[in-house]
Symmetry: C2
Subunit: 386 residues, 2 copies
């Protein structure tokens, strides 16, 4: 059977779950991994070891791939262009991906498109920052234009004084107004080279210390108008930016409407719930999109789907024993473990609960993740903050 | 993360799909495969090459596995016992698995348990066969006691004369009455060493030339009484025979009730629909069972689920192009390809349709499998036989 080879740069959990989905399509993902301990390297057959910052490694990896795609945004743009110039199909393209790699480029492009974004400015000096603060208020959000993830590269600062170490670090920076948000949402869509696009329902994402801890699908109490606006915005951005594959648009919901926070052009934490919660998962959809297969149905499989991230705890996790007890406690909970070494705060897996009603479904997902992390059942006394 | 190693002997599609499910549990299946072209060897990281008929290969494979299990019944019993005697955990055990390996042992055991089976007898001579035919009528079913699958090792014979070549072949044989069946059903359950058991709804299986071509869940029009009887029978057999893992009980529905046809102690073709059609798939359940994890919920995810096997056609399948067109035609159909070389009649994949109503759901599954095999859309003129 002569089916195409899809190469994914990066061996993290996104690559791992993409491989899992690709198996059904008759494929075996080719993974560029750093080491054999990478999440995807543990489970895929076609693993190439190399660095995503080495042009030589990337070019060798791309050889024989029908398409090369990514599980993160950290491949330098000039190296992606080198693959493209060597004749390889790379999706999303370097031109599209730039908007997920460089927050300043993204902000300027979205502003030019008339897409609602928080007030922002490029910051190259203390004077720039003081001027921005005087206009938009303190505290404000200072961000590294490139390289951040999971809250890294983002600082909430009360004064230019406090920002001095970051300002002096040589990192390209932008400042944003600290928007008075009501909650965070995400609109996840996929787009194929042919131009077909498909959207999943808009979800609510809950962050703790800059890391996503919970996703609720569909976003509870979201008005139809806002839901349609958010989906339309994501579909429009996918087209305007020429995205191929999954595009996750992270949004702030404010009293005045929605604003775009971040973009990701790959399967995204806010779409993990789709594995069991939608007829086509974001991982299958990403593979279908980059291969220019027609996209799959995004219908939900239950009225409410809640995903809770499993973050590494402090102690020995005894995951195997906890898994036994959790499965006994809740035989309907779906568990996904990434095969990673446990480190405090690291995303090592997620759990998904499906149900008819929001509160009990949410409670099951939270209880499952909390128990796997701590070995304790949630009680009113130690309940996760709402 | 120190999670257990599950070893599966055999690198076919059952092993491939078990690996796919095991990934979510943080595992990477260790597969004993014949060659790198085996379905599971194409997608798993931990592949050991060797023969399932070599004691040395099996013992080396089992080393370091928390548990060894199987994707087929063809490992000789004495070699399974050799693994057990070397201290390895093998599930199902050699004692249980014997009943899926030897049809004569199975028939005798089930008859002794009072389980309804077709009239049968061990056949060692032409006289035995003539006597059985005189009592139970011609044509009758002659079966090799061991080694058959997908209709191989089963002969419908009209006379002892016709059976002469088989009778003279030295194969251990049994004869069975050719039961006037209304249809075939399957009751699939799983059982853990702890003794927990879980049943999926009873399904109807449709065979063509001895090969399963379609499975409908739940079995249309099955009375509650018969459904409960079939599930109860499968659960009882799992316990009486000491099965651990998935047990598929193939059944004949006759005017007088149900009879047991065959047993399989592994994920089974009649359970492929559970991947999308049940909250816990048979592949995840098998892994949970052999690791003695509590079992998962078997609830359906849609009122009707239909799986159609994709059998290799005669010509060049051009599967990639057909997949494009099929996905465009039916974005809700779920496709599973096994990565196998296409040969006429070989199971190379399956498709699953989920829906609210039997007829349209069944039509979608049939149309999908037919199109992938032939490149033709089903029309009234070339519709699959009912």
């Amino acid at each position: 059977m002569d089916l195409p080879v899809v190469g994914m740069v990066g061996g993290g959990q996104l690559s791992r779950m993409t491989h899992q989905a690709a198996i059904a399509l008759g494929l075996s993902l080719r993974v560029l991994a750093d080491t054999g301990h990478d999440s995807a390297a543990l489970v895929a057959n076609n693993v190439v070891f190399g660095s995503h910052t080495s042009k030589e490694d990337l070019l060798a990896f791309a050889e024989g791939c029908e398409v090369v795609t990514f599980d993160h945004e950290h491949v330098p743009g000039d190296l992606i262009r080198a693959m493209e110039e060597a004749g390889h199909t790379v999706l999303p393209s370097s031109a599209a991906l730039l908007h997920a790699q460089d927050k300043l480029v993204m902000r300027e492009k979205l502003a030019a498109l008339g897409v609602p974004v928080p007030p922002f400015a490029s910051i190259t000096s203390r004077e720039d920052l003081e001027g921005f603060g005087a206009e938009h208020g303190w505290p404000l959000v200072l961000k590294a234009a490139t390289g951040g993830y999971d809250g890294k590269g983002v600082w909430i600062v009360d004064s230019a004084e406090e920002a001095a170490p970051v300002l002096g670090s040589g990192v390209r920076l932008l400042a944003e107004q600290k928007v008075p948000l009501q909650r965070e949402l995400a609109a996840v869509v996929a787009r194929s080279p042919y131009g077909q696009a498909a959207a999943w329902p808009v979800v609510e994402t809950v962050q703790s210390r800059g890391i996503c801890v919970e996703v609720v699908a569909p976003a509870p109490g979201l008005s139809d108008d806002l839901a349609v606006e958010a989906q339309g915005l994501a579909l429009r951005l996918a087209q305007e930016l020429g995205v191929v594959g999954v595009l996750a648009v992270e949004l702030f919901e404010t009293a005045d409407g929605i604003l775009v926070n971040e973009l990701a052009m790959r399967p995204h934490n806010s779409g993990h719930w789709t594995i069991e919660g939608a007829r086509t998962s974001q991982f299958e959809q990403h593979v279908r999109a980059v291969l220019d297969y027609p996209l799959g149905t995004t219908t939900l499989t239950a009225p409410v789907v809640v995903m809770a991230n499993l973050l590494g705890g402090d102690g020995d996790p005894e995951l195997d024993e906890r898994l036994h007890l959790l499965f006994a406690h809740d035989p309907s909970l779906k568990v996904h473990l990434y095969g990673k070494e446990v480190r405090p705060g690291r995303k090592i897996g997620h759990v998904t609960a499906l149900g008819d009603d929001l509160d009990p479904t949410r409670a099951r997902a939270q209880a499952g993740a909390h128990y796997l992390r701590t070995g304790q059942w949630l009680t009113p006394a130690n309940e996760a903050p709402k």
